[in-house]
């Protein structure tokens, strides 16, 4: 059964017809063509599909699409300006070498954003907790943590 939901997606009011079993990941990728939402495991274990729903970073691959009714959803596509001006966190990821293969990057950036929106000057431990659900096989996390510290420093 399809159900029409309305929600805010990257700052714009949108609506979509969703089915009960549809995940937020499928909705965002298939319907809105937001391919920055990555599927790394399909089981909520790797964090590549992380998006922000009402300020909380969560894994879209196991989140029911219809649950975003009335919510505000931010994907990686919602961070930079249309002209390509990067969000400070994205800028820090670029400049601190936090990106290698890049598959985990959108998820890590969004987990960082949810953290910094809530806690503008987190400790290293708090940063590591915030990205604990975002697996990365390339970087060993060091430069990701440094990028988030850098972004926090520049914002505050």
């Amino acid at each position: 059964m399809r159900q029409v939901i309305e929600f805010e997606l990257n700052g714009q009011e949108v609506s979509a017809a969703v089915t009960g079993g549809q995940t937020l990941l499928d909705l965002l990728r298939d319907e809105f063509e937001l391919y920055g939402v990555k599927e790394g495991c399909g089981a909520g274990e790797c964090g590549a599909c992380t998006v922000i729903v009402d300020g909380l970073a969560l894994t879209a691959c196991i989140f029911p699409a219809r649950e975003v009714e009335g919510a505000s959803v931010t994907t990686i596509e919602g961070l930079a300006s249309a002209q390509g001006e990067l969000h400070p966190i994205q800028e820090s990821f670029v400049n601190q070498g936090a990106v290698q293969c890049g598959f985990c990057t959108p998820g890590n950036v969004l987990s960082a954003k949810a953290l910094l929106d809530e806690n503008p000057s987190p400790s290293e431990e708090e940063i590591r907790v915030a990205i604990a659900g975002n697996l990365c096989r390339c970087t060993g996390y060091t430069q990701i943590v440094e990028a988030i510290q850098d972004a926090a420093g520049r914002k505050s």
């Binding site: 920055g36 939402v37 089981a43 274990e45 990067l86 293969c101 590591r128 697996l135 990365c136």
Partner: protein
């Protein structure tokens, strides 16, 4: 060459902006018009005859476009020993065996159809360890070899045997001898982007593969072989690599699923995509090669190594990929880590009903180094030496020839050990330990070190170790660089841009790397063996020189000077300030005259009989193929390093925490320190996972932990506090002095940690991974009364 100084700078990755914004298109994000989706049926049995496959229900499912089994396809032998097939016919040998595949309008329909395929098996006796597989009367996994010759046992016809000097003499000369048996297990690459491919034929029957391969040109050759078997001898193959979500060796072979996509695309006339799930990635992506390693080494009364002997047994799994060839690189540390005059190494691969193995970061070197470096610590203790001083005493030196005939030119091995000693506070720790200050009732601390040697200048493992490059300047001074190199996240496109800009003398913003397409880019053997910065860098130096000469010829005519009077920096061509000696040649009036590159190019282009500037080169490093005795200078540059760690072992839980981690690397020259550090950090954590937590668990040949909850990849909470120490030895064979570094950081981690655990608790762990359970069990065995 121009001294602009792009090389050596901490420049961000060229593709980082696309990746942080979600714009980079991975195979997961790519679709073709009319594309079908395919799924694969894997065997339910580890070893069985296929009595019957009934696909009729699957074929009738709406939305299904094709169903194929091993019966429907031509014979396409795959793998290093040609013992594998895209779909198995008649018999399955492991639970990862592909036996049928479905192409349908979407992945869900394809998956549903897979569930409708009925297979009747007749189970056969199984073997799940190499020891069992070698026992008398063990069932044969393969009844015959690729040529149809009957097999007498499960032993692969692939003997690895290296003999240097006289090991028995070395043994006799030894005052101290230490021996041990070490084991490593199945480890998955765990690329965050799962494997995938799209196969598409055009109406001329030419094939395009939208791919994630690390070896586009070797893959092209493999696909052409399949097309010949399919009766498409005149077809061409184009491989277009997408943005790749991690490599680490997992994409160094062509895999069954790629050929299944080709077969289904051929059967349906439509583009066919296969995208692995994470579960499939654990099951059907081959692993790191597991090992059982018996080692003994000796030294004389002064502590000088006298001999090293290693016997290895390798679980080959049911089919042969690159795993069976990893002894070719295991030989590197076995023969040439430290100066050891007499070496004997034998490795045997054995078929079992387990998963099969392939290349993974370090290509066997991390496994072999685990045995060598754990055993070096045993020997140092036996002989009464501090383990770090013992290593310094035996360390490799510049301008030496190793027993396997590797010519070591530059060597920073001792410098790296000294960095570890200093950075880790080695002596302070040893002093504290002597006073018993390193442990309490709950916790014990220890330090450990291990060194590495790895190929640093590519490796001739294929007839050509070469790489082609084309440089093309346009009317506006933009420089396109066509390379066969594959970017798998390591940053080659960035480091190459830096080297190109400095080689040619152009602004780095004007350099654009064109890669990932076999139709457009010149041949390259592949992204492996830490070779890309080295080989493409050298190609860039050669090609850049040729391009500069062409530019200077044109500019000289326009400026009415001689080409050798010209130089170029930041895309501006200028007349050199002539040195005193030949100061006469350039008229004073012209000294310092300059023209923008773009202007010179346009003037040359639009002149009568105009010309455009293109240069090309093919660089093949002077690396030797190992001879019949497995000797020869495999690599024209050798990379060295040492890793030191301080660990804390929780005596109640067995948990190991890394308190300090010093990674010293002789990289020749740091081309981009930020990306270099990224390689070192990432390799350190991957190596720590190999050491402490990672294992694909098999039960009766079945993967029981094929997900990220049960397969323990390190997370950001498992902090590995890596401090890199960069040693620059400026190797004259390398571009700007650089050596390869991509794999090195992974090599010495496990033995460094094992040695530190031993230092902390007096228990030597010889099997990986060293999980808390394993540490506790070893403690209990060693101290039953504690």
């Amino acid at each position: 060459m121009s001294h602009q100084g792009y090389v050596g700078r901490r420049l961000p990755k060229a593709d980082a902006k696309d990746k942080v914004t979600g714009r980079a298109a991975y195979i997961n994000d790519v679709a073709r018009p009319g594309m079908l989706h395919a799924k694969i049926l894997y065997s339910a049995q580890p070893h069985a005859l296929i009595k019957r496959i009934d696909t009729s229900k699957a074929r009738r499912l709406p939305g299904v476009r094709a169903v194929i089994t091993g019966e429907d396809i031509p014979d396409i032998p795959l793998g290093f020993k040609q013992d594998n097939r895209p779909l198995k016919k008649g018999k399955v040998r492991s639970t990862r065996d592909e036996i049928a595949a479905v192409a349908a309008i979407d992945p869900e329909v394809a998956a549903e159809a897979i569930d409708l395929i009925e297979v009747e098996y007749e189970p056969l006796p199984t073997v799940f360890s190499p020891e069992e597989a070698l026992a008398d009367g063990a069932p044969l996994i393969h009844e015959s070899d690729a040529r149809g010759k009957p097999n007498k046992s499960n032993k692969l016809k692939l003997p690895w045997r290296l003999n240097c000097g006289d090991v028995e003499l070395g043994r006799a000369q030894s005052k101290y001898i230490a021996q041990g048996t070490y084991r490593t297990t199945w480890v998955s690459h765990c690329c965050l982007g799962t494997s995938g491919v799209i196969a598409e034929f055009d109406l001329k029957r030419n094939l395009t593969m939208y791919s994630v391969t690390q070896i586009p040109f070797l893959a092209q050759n493999d696909y052409l072989g399949a097309l010949r078997a399919m009766g498409l001898s005149d077809s061409a193959v184009r491989v277009k690599c997408q943005t790749i979500g991690g490599g680490f060796g997992s994409k160094l072979d062509t895999h069954c699923y790629e050929f299944i996509a080709i077969l289904l695309a051929n059967a349906t006339g439509k583009p066919v995509k296969i995208q692995f799930t994470r579960e499939e990635e654990f099951l059907a992506q081959a692993t790191r090669q597991p090992t059982v390693m018996e080692i003994s080494q000796g030294c004389d009364h002064q502590g000088k190594l006298t001999f090293r002997e290693v016997h290895m047994l390798l679980d080959n799994g049911a089919y042969t990929s690159w795993g069976a060839t990893t002894p070719s690189v295991m030989m590197v540390p076995i023969s040439s880590l430290y100066q050891v005059p007499n070496v004997h190494f034998v490795a045997e691969s054995v078929y079992t009903n387990n998963l099969y193995a392939q290349a993974m970061r370090g290509y066997g070197n991390p496994q072999a180094t685990f045995a060598v470096e754990s055993n070096i610590d045993q020997l140092a203790e036996e002989a009464g030496f501090d383990p770090l001083e013992f290593r310094l005493l035996n360390a490799n030196q510049s301008n030496t020839l190793t027993p396997q005939e590797f010519k070591i030119t530059t060597c920073g091995a001792s410098d790296c050990l000294e960095e570890v000693k200093k950075g880790l506070g080695w002596q302070a720790h040893k002093k504290a330990k002597a006073q018993g200050k390193n442990k309490s009732a709950e916790k014990a601390c220890g330090v450990g070190v291990a060194s590495l040697i790895h190929v640093g200048g590519g490796a001739r493992v294929y007839r050509s170790d070469g790489t082609g490059m084309i440089m093309k300047l346009d009317d506006f001074g933009k420089l396109k660089v066509f390379t066969g190199a594959v970017e798998i996240g390591q940053g080659i496109e960035t480091v190459l841009s830096q080297m190109v800009a400095d080689s040619v003398g152009v602004r780095i913003e004007d350099v654009d790397i064109v890669a990932h397409d076999t139709d457009i880019c010149p041949w390259d053997v592949g992204t492996h063996a830490s070779r890309q910065a080295f080989v493409t860098g050298n190609a860039a130096c050669h090609c850049g020189r040729a391009l500069r000469s062409k530019v200077f010829e044109l500019a000289a005519a326009q400026m009415e000077v001689e080409p050798e009077d010209l130089d170029m920096r930041e895309s501006v061509i200028f007349v050199r300030e002539a040195p005193e000696a030949d100061g006469e040649r350039v008229p004073l009036a012209q000294r310092g005259d300059s023209l923008p590159l773009a202007k010179v190019l346009r003037k040359a282009h639009f002149a009568k009989q105009g010309e455009m500037v293109v240069a090309e080169t093919f660089y093949d490093p002077p690396n030797e193929m190992l001879d019949k005795e497995f000797k020869g200078n495999l690599s024209c540059s050798w990379a060295f390093g040492a890793t030191g760690v301080e660990v804390e072992v929780d005596l109640k839980t067995g948990h190991v925490t890394i308190l300090k981690y010093l990674a010293a690397h002789d990289v020749g020259k740091a081309l981009n320190p930020m990306l270099l550090e990224g390689q070192i950090y990432g390799a350190a954590v991957m190596g720590t996972g190999f050491a402490l937590s990672e294992e694909v668990k098999l039960n009766q040949g079945r993967v029981v932990n094929g997900n990220f909850l049960d397969y323990k990849l390190l997370t950001a909470l498992d902090k590995v506090p890596v401090t890199p120490a960069i040693v620059e030895t400026l190797d004259s064979a390398g571009p700007f002095g650089a050596k390869g570094v991509g794999e090195s950081g992974c090599v010495p981690v496990a033995p460094a940690i094992a040695n530190a655990i031993y230092d902390a608790i007096g228990v030597r762990l010889s099997d990986l991974p060293m999980t808390p359970e394993a540490v506790l069990a070893a403690l209990k065995e060693r101290f039953p009364d504690a």
